[in-house]
């Protein structure tokens, strides 16, 4: 792999469990496709009789007109159609932990929704062997007026647990959630962190044969995220089949035995997580040092925040991904706030071709920018000092959100940077350097 050669950092290899899957099949997906009509889905969220009547009258006319005008014919023209998934086929063996990665809108969530039977495919079929537990969101069905205890039972039942099962695991769930003292308080009085911890604790004790997990780990604080990942690892070792959608490349690399890269609704690549992640990160991140998002980028459903452009350039120069190790470089993020947002942070992550995150940085790290963001356009500029990253290739992902509450936008690995080793610390000796960072430290040698 070209990419892995470029990122020459000796990252610890993830365990190559089950490269050649053995056991019986757990999930069999054959030629799955899912079509959405964009007109009906986004612009008008629901229809009224009037619209339908109006369309019933106007559609034949419009179709007739387009026929006369010699345009393409058919219903597809009347509503714009979009295939979220197309001709998707893959298999998951029992006991495999498969990571699904891909850009926003690649169809990852739609895939999970089809396998968990929340929505139907438009074409194709899938066969699932075993009970499916899906975790597309933590705390589905939580009711603010009910106490923590009551919500554990309600949420457990919604996730498909039996009452007896919940009772047996109740103490364990409460202990995992770390909210013992407030278990009889209505959850509307919980902090968002407590709420998420309790919700995840219930989900973590779900024991179906097949577990489908969407990006639920992106909430909660880092320590709790680690705890959850640990729990998932435990579940995986217990022989359960897991399909895991994530943007957390390091987690995919560590937990999964195989990765599937979805691109525009199709499988682009499948194989050992290390290879798939490397190819994915390298795919369209450019070394041009600049990326514009037309119309603004945000998570589905987010209307109050748009990421417009990201840029990387040397402290004294034009945007480029080729950076000298001995010169500071600047990361610029242009974004718009369309409605006043509380305690938002906008920043970026630097990761290696293996998905290891070297560091992340946010504008709100500076206490001056911790406050509300008023409506308007912003440019966040961050200076990364010289002699920080070791020479090699890195990928920048951009992230905006209200910590622990809401994700606003995520642009994964859109920019690549090459830290060129001329002038890097220790560059005069060509060999024998290692590590993700290469700081210029002070030495004093005495005799």
């Amino acid at each position: 792999m070209e990419m892995r050669a470029a990122a020459r950092l000796p990252a610890p290899a993830p365990p190559d469990r089950g490269e050649v899957p053995q056991g019986p099949v757990a999930i069999e997906v054959r030629g799955i496709g899912k079509r959405f009509y964009i007109g009906a889905r986004q612009s008008d969220r629901y229809r009224t009789f009037r619209d339908v009547l109006a369309r019933a009258v106007s559609a034949p006319l419009r179709r007739a007109r387009s026929l006369i005008g010699g345009h393409a014919t058919g219903a597809a023209e009347l509503h714009e159609e979009m295939w979220a998934l197309r001709e998707l086929s893959f298999e998951v063996e029992q006991g495999e932990v498969v990571g699904v990665i891909g850009r926003n809108g690649a169809g990852k969530t739609t895939l999970l929704k089809i396998i968990s039977r929340i929505t139907e495919p438009t074409e194709g079929s899938a066969v699932i062997h075993g009970r499916v537990g899906s975790l597309l969101e933590v705390g589905t069905g939580f009711h603010p007026e009910l106490t923590g205890r009551e919500n554990v039972f309600l949420n457990g039942a919604i996730l498909g647990m039996r009452k007896a099962e919940i009772e047996a695991k109740f103490d364990e769930i409460v202990e995992f959630s770390e909210v013992e003292r407030f278990i009889d308080t209505p959850v509307k009085h919980y902090s968002s962190g407590m709420y998420v911890r309790l919700a995840f604790a219930v989900a973590a004790h779900l024991e179906p044969e097949i577990l489908l997990v969407d990006e639920v780990l992106s909430v909660g604080d880092a320590r709790f995220q680690r705890k959850c990942l640990g729990k998932m690892g435990e579940v995986a070792r217990g022989g359960r089949t897991i399909l895991f959608v994530s943007h957390n490349m390091a987690a995919v690399g560590r937990l999964c035995s195989r990765a599937i890269w979805l691109d525009e609704g199709r499988v682009r690549l499948t194989g050992a997580p290390r290879d798939v992640i490397a190819a994915y990160l390298a795919s369209d991140s450019s070394l041009a040092g600049e990326e514009h998002f037309e119309g603004g980028l945000s998570r589905p459903g987010v209307e109050d925040f748009k990421l417009d452009a990201v840029r990387v350039r040397p402290a004294s120069g034009e945007p480029t991904g080729e950076l000298e190790a001995d010169e500071p470089f600047i990361v610029e993020i242009e974004y718009r706030v369309l409605e006043r947002l509380p305690q938002t942070r906008v920043g970026f992550l630097v990761q290696t071709g293996d998905g290891i995150i070297v560091f992340d940085a946010y504008d709100a790290d500076d206490p001056r920018y911790l406050e509300y963001r008023d409506t308007g356009s912003y440019v966040a500029r961050c200076t990364v000092p010289a002699h920080l990253l070791a020479p090699g290739r890195y990928f920048l992902s951009f992230n905006a959100g209200i910590p622990g509450i809401r994700n606003l936008a995520f642009a994964e690995a859109v920019l690549a940077i090459d830290i060129v080793d001329t002038g890097a610390v220790g560059a005069h000796f060509k060999a024998g350097r290692t590590g993700l960072i290469r700081p210029l430290l002070e030495w004093e040698v005495s005799q």
């Binding site: 056991g23 629901y46 039977r117 062997h129 499916v132 899906s134 597309l136 498909g160 009452k163």
Partner: protein
Amino acid sequence: MSPDGRAAALASDSLPATEVPVIRIEASRGWVKLGLGELWDYRELLYFLIWRDIKVRYKQTVLGAAWAIIQPFMSMVVFTLFFGRLARIPSDGVPYPIFNYSAMVAWTFFANGLSQASNSLVGSSNLLKKIYFPRLVIPIASILAGLVDFALAFTVLVPMMLYFGIVPSPNVVWLPFFLLLAFSTALGVGLWLSALNVQFRDVRHTVGFIVQFWLFASPVVYSSNLIENDLLRTLYGINPMASVVEGFRWALLGSASDQFKGPGAMLIVSCAAALLMLVSGLYYFRRMEKTFADVA
């Protein structure tokens, strides 16, 4: 892996094959099975949803569960004033308040059930988009949760009957049957409206009107004895609530006046009508179900 290899792997699997459910997912076409067996598998979820509805319903209200009594009772007072006193509508030989209230308990259960069910899917869109379960659970739970309100409203009947000196007839054992008829009607129509409501939010604005219209189309404020033609009275049973209301009066007040003849032949028409609404509602609901997560 070759197909043969997989077959061999499956055969060598030590797990008992019957233990692992196999689910086939594909686009459904045309009419789908009702899947009532699956509904039974999810009975605990049904129980928890009902329990949640009951727990939450009167949270942060001052009068709490008293609302379950106030609502039908105040309606009865108003109707007694206007229809009993001013319009002097005949009340089959018993005082108008008890004549009206015995119908009102059944009616309130039906009317609340119908409007709750109609809005239930839209109100649970978050669940529909995130979790799989038989969607039928939602409207069913919303109607069954009304049974608690029904029981509370029903308790007021006891002092009222004592006050008016009415002893229930042995026919009172038939009450659950009439309640079931009211439930089936509310569910049948509720299934239609809830599924339509996902597509067309017009429904939400229509439900109040439908309920109001239906109230006056049912013998709640008047008696079905006003219809003298036997055939017409039988056909009146097309509205199953006519039989429910007359059935309630017959079962509760039958000993106080011989004018309560019960629904009679009307009941057959009503049962057929309710069954038709329920079965068609079930099929329509199941057919539309696949679109719920995408448009809710």
